[in-house]
């Protein structure tokens, strides 16, 4: 997929009621009720899930929202896209 296509994609986080989130240390354990799968995640994953929400955001909207909330040490859209791809593969984010 070309990057221009990716910018138009709407990413949606799994709704909070299907996630059970337990911070352990730098890692956070997430039980995804819809899939029955446990994920152990590191930052910035919990932050992305919170900022993304279920309404749907584009990459640019999401990175702007994260920038409002945090000091982004590497404001790299490609890196954010990689994180979202990973989240989509895990089923915690959908693009459809």
């Amino acid at each position: 997929m070309r990057d221009s296509d990716k910018n138009d994609l709407l990413y949606r986080a799994a709704p909070p009621q299907v996630l059970c989130v337990v911070p352990l240390d730098t890692f956070t354990a997430i039980y995804h009720r819809a899939s029955g799968i446990t994920h152990l995640v590191a930052p910035p994953v919990p932050e992305i899930l919170t900022a993304l929400g279920t309404a749907g955001s584009t990459l640019d909207q999401l990175i702007a929202r994260l920038g409002d909330e945090y000091d982004l040490l590497d404001g790299d859209v490609a890196a954010l896209a990689a994180r979202l791809d990973e989240l989509a593969a895990a089923g915690l984010v959908s693009t459809i």
């Binding site: 909070p16 337990v22 995640v41 994953v45 919990p46 000091d71």
Partner: protein, 136 residues
């Protein structure tokens, strides 16, 4: 467990109201999610058909040295990684004293040393573990 979720979102802006928390998005090739898989595969399918990626795509690319460590691509004496993940069944046979199919002895030894060094949290670990645990 909903309290936990609340607790977590409270904890997120740690550092107080005056300074915002720093956040790294990480590198493109890095990985921030480990999905937990069954420790003992409950069906024959997963034991025979599980696979071990060499090296773990979550931990970046590289070649495999003779001792199984992941080194910079092109390092002398190291081997380019296999194009496809190793199959559980092939690894099982190699563990019993053979070589991996379709590769020469030294290369097989290097890949197998990588497999032996796998630890939990790494892709392929569960496959390797289940191959070693024929019983519960």
């Amino acid at each position: 467990m909903s309290e936990d979720a609340d607790q977590h979102s409270d904890a997120t802006p740690a550092g107080g109201a005056t300074s915002r928390r720093a956040l790294m998005l990480g590198a493109v090739g890095a990985s921030a999610i480990v999905s937990i898989r069954p420790a003992l595969a409950a069906t024959a399918v997963s034991i025979v058909h599980c696979s071990i990626p060499v090296p773990d795509p979550g931990r970046g690319a590289g070649w495999i040295a003779a001792d199984g460590s992941v080194v910079t691509s092109g390092t002398a004496g190291a081997f380019a990684p296999p194009s496809r993940p190793l199959k559980g069944q092939d690894v099982k046979q190699a563990l019993a004293g053979g070589t991996l199919p379709g590769v020469e002895y030294e290369r097989s030894q290097a890949y197998m040393n990588y497999v032996r060094n796998l630890h939990s949290g790494t892709s392929g670990f569960t496959c390797f573990a289940s191959l070693q645990m024929p019983r519960g």
